[in-house]
C-alpha cells in the first residue's frame, strides 16, 4: 500500500524512539514518578517524624490525604519528568540538521512541514503514552494508600497536566528547530520555562500562563471547575511554537 510521506516519516520517528531506547527511558521515568508520588505523600510525614524524634523535636504534621498524593504527582511530573522529556526533545530537529540526515530526507518528495509534523506528533504521542502509564500508576497507588479520587475528575486533572507537559515539549521543539546545537536548544527551552513561570505577577497575563495549569490540575482532579484561561494560553503557545518552527525550517539551508 502506498503511504503518504508524512506517514512514512511518522513510522520512522516511532521506530527511532524505540531503537534509541528513548521511549523506554521516558516510560521508566514517568512510571517511576507515577508509583513514587503517592508513596512519598504517604510516608514523608512518617520519615520526618522518625528523623526529628531522635533529636528530641516533636513536629505535628497533618495526616496525608489523596490531595497530597495528587499534588506530589503533579509536582514530580511537572519538574523532574518534564526535565527528562525536554532533554529527550531538545535534539529532535537540530541533531538531524547537525548530522546531515535532514538534507537526505528533504531532497525527497517530503515537505518540510510534514518532516516537522511527523516529529512533533511522535514526541506528543510518546509523551502522552508515558504520561498515561504514569497517571494510571499514580491513581492506583493513591487508591490503595488513600481514598480513590473520582475517575472523571482525576482524568480531567491529568489532561491539564499533560497539556502543560506538551506545551513545553512544543516550545523545546521550536528551539530545536531554530537553534544551532542541542545544548542551545535545551538552555533556551529552560529559560523560557523560567520566564513563563515568572509571569505570575503580571496581572491579567498571569491568568493565561501555562504554570497555572499545575495548581488547576490538582484542584480539578479533586473536583474543582475547569479554568479556560491557561488552556487558551497553552493552545496559543503550541500554535505559535509550531508555526514559528515551520517558518524557520522553511528558510533553513543545509
Amino acid at each position: 500500500m502506498r503511504r503518504r510521506p508524512f506517514f512514512v516519516l511518522f513510522g520512522k520517528e516511532l521506530r527511532e524512539q524505540v531503537r534509541s531506547y528513548r521511549l523506554l527511558i521516558l516510560g521508566l521515568v514517568f512510571v517511576f514518578f507515577g508509583l513514587a508520588s503517592p508513596l512519598l505523600a504517604k510516608f514523608t510525614p512518617e520519615i520526618v517524624k522518625t528523623m526529628t524524634a531522635t533529636e528530641g523535636v516533636v513536629i505535628n504534621l497533618p495526616e496525608p490525604t489523596a490531595a497530597d498524593a495528587v499534588a506530589q504527582f503533579v509536582k514530580n511530573v511537572s519538574q523532574i519528568a518534564l526535565f527528562v522529556l525536554v532533554f529527550l526533545t531538545m535534539g529532535s530537529v537540530v541533531a538531524e540538521k547537525e548530522r546531515g540526515t535532514a538534507a537526505f530526507v528533504l531532497v525527497k518528495p517530503a515537505s518540510r512541514e510534514s518532516f516537522l509534523a511527523a516529529k512533533l506528533l511522535t514526541l506528543w504521542l510518546c509523551g502522552t503514552g508515558a504520561f498515561a502509564l504514569s497517571a494510571i500508576c499514580a491513581y492506583g497507588y493513591t487508591a490503595v494508600l488513600f481514598t480513590a479520587p473520582s475517575v472523571a475528575s482525576f482524568v480531567l486533572g491529568c489532561a491539564l497536566l499533560l497539556l502543560h507537559v506538551l506545551t513545553f515539549v512544543t516550545t523545546t521543539f521550536f528551539f530545536s528547530t531554530i537553534a544551532r546545537s542541542q545544548v542551545v536548544a535545551g538552555v533556551l527551552s529552560f529559560l523560557v520555562w523560567i520566564l513563563l513561570a515568572s509571569l505570575g505577577s503580571l496581572g491579567i497575563v498571569s491568568e493565561f500562563q501555562p504554570g497555572r495549569l499545575l495548581s488547576a490540575s490538582v484542584e480539578v482532579a479533586l473536583g474543582a471547575p475547569l479554568p479556560w484561561e491557561p488552556l487558551a494560553g497553552c493552545a496559543a503557545i503550541i500554535v505559535l511554537s509550531f508555526s514559528g518552527a515551520v517558518a524557520a525550517f522553511r528558510r533553513w539551508e543545509p
Binding site: 510521506p5 525527497k108 518528495p109
Partner: protein, 313 residues
C-alpha cells in the same frame, strides 16, 4: 532539450560578502552524463544544492526537468535523485531499512520498496551488509549506499556530488561503470575534481570557477577548443632544455609559440604546430642540443583545467 538549465544564478552569503555563485549559466542536455568540474570552493556543491531545492538562490533562475526550481515542489523532487558530498544516513537503520524508507518517501508501496531495496543492495555489493546498522558501515560502503538511495526511485535526473570521493579503486570503477550505464536513460550531473573520472564517463563537461561557468563542451571537444595541442621536446638533460628555452626566446621564436620548461621537457604551445615544430628542429640542430624525443601531443583535460582555472584557484 536541456534537462537542467540555469540562468544568471547567484548565491551570496553573509549579506553579499561571500559570493558562492556569480551568475552561473548552465545547460545540461537530456540523457547526458555531465561532468561538473571545478576547484574546491568554485561553487559546485552550492549549485547542486540549489538545483535539488535544498538551498534558495539569491537571484537568477533554474529549471530541472522543465520545472522552475525555486518552487521546489514535491513533484519536481520526485523526479530527481541526489547523493551529497558527505552522505549521512540514520545510523540506527540497517542498509535495507534505509533503502526501503527512501523508496517509500517516493510513494512506492512497501512490497515494491523491499524488492527495489534488494535489487539495489545486490547492485551496490551490499547484500552481506544489508541487515547491519548503517552506523557500522565503512566510508566506501556508505558511499555505495548513498548512490543506491539516490537511484532508488529510478530518477529522471541524478545529481552526484563527488560520487567517488571515498571509494577504493575497485569501488570507483564499479560506480563509474554504473554511471556510464545510465547514459541515455537518466541525465546525470556529476561534480568532481578527479579529471580521470570525467574523461572516463562524462560526455559533456562544464568547468566552473569562482561561481561562474568558464567552459562547457563535449569532453572530446574541450581540449581542442580550450587548450590547443602542444609540441613536446624531451632533452637528455635539464640544462639542455633550459638552453633551448633561452635560445627560443633569444631568436624571437617565442612570439610564434610560447615555451614552458619542466625538467628535461619543453612544451611549445602554438596555433601553427607544423611551423613551431620545424623552427624547434632547426634551433636544436643549430645549437647542437641533445634531443631525446619530439612529439605532438593533444591537450588533456588536465591541460584544459589548469589553463582555465589554474592561475585563479
Amino acid at each position: 532539450m536541456n534537462a537542467i538549465r540555469t540562468s544568471a544564478l547567484v548565491k551570496s552569503y553573509e549579506r553579499g560578502k561571500v559570493l558562492a555563485l556569480d551568475g552561473l549559466d548552465l545547460a545540461v542536455p537530456e540523457g547526458s552524463v555531465f561532468g561538473f568540474l571545478g576547484p574546491n570552493g568554485a561553487g559546485k556543491t552550492t549549485a547542486i544544492k540549489i538545483l535539488t531545492g535544498l538551498v534558495e538562490p539569491t537571484s537568477g533562475d533554474a529549471w530541472v526537468a522543465g520545472e522552475p526550481v525555486a518552487e521546489s515542489s514535491p513533484r519536481l523532487r520526485s523526479q530527481i535523485g541526489y547523493l551529497s558530498q558527505d552522505p549521512r544516513f540514520y545510523s540506527w537503520m540497517t542498509g535495507r531499512e534505509l533503502l526501503v524508507f527512501a523508496a517509500q518517501l517516493y510513494g512506492v508501496d512497501r512490497a515494491a520498496a523491499r524488492r527495489r531495496a534488494d535489487e539495489l543492495l545486490e547492485l551496490s555489493g551490499l547484500v552481506r551488509a544489508a541487515t547491519r546498522r548503517v552506523g557500522g558501515y565503512s566510508g566506501g560502503m556508505v558511499q555505495r549506499l548513498g548512490i543506491a538511495q539516490a537511484v532508488v526511485s529510478t530518477p529522471r535526473i541524478l545529481f552526484l556530488d563527488e560520487p567517488c570521493a571515498s571509494l577504493d579503486p575497485l569501488g570507483r570503477r564499479d560506480v563509474l561503470e554504473f554511471i556510464a550505464r545510465l547514459r541515455g536513460k537518466t541525465t546525470v550531473l556529476m561534480s568532481t575534481h578527479i579529471l580521470e573520472d570525467v574523461e572516463r564517463v562524462c560526455d559533456t563537461v562544464g568547468i566552473i570557477d569562482h561561481g561562474r561557468m568558464v567552459a562547457t563542451a563535449e569532453t572530446t571537444e574541450l581540449g581542442r577548443r580550450f587548450a590547443p595541442p602542444v609540441v613536446e621536446l624531451g632533452f637528455e638533460t635539464a640544462e639542455a632544455a633550459a638552453a633551448f628555452a633561452a635560445a627560443w626566446t633569444e631568436t624571437g621564436s617565442a612570439t610564434e609559440a610560447a615555451a614552458t620548461v619542466e625538467g628535461e621537457i619543453v612544451q611549445l604551445r602554438a596555433l601553427d604546430l607544423a611551423q613551431a615544430r620545424a623552427s624547434a628542429l632547426r634551433l636544436v640542430a643549430a645549437r647542437n642540443l641533445p634531443l631525446a624525443r619530439l612529439e605532438t601531443r593533444s591537450a588533456s583535460l588536465e591541460d584544459v583545467f589548469v589553463r582555465l582555472v589554474g592561475g585563479t584557484s
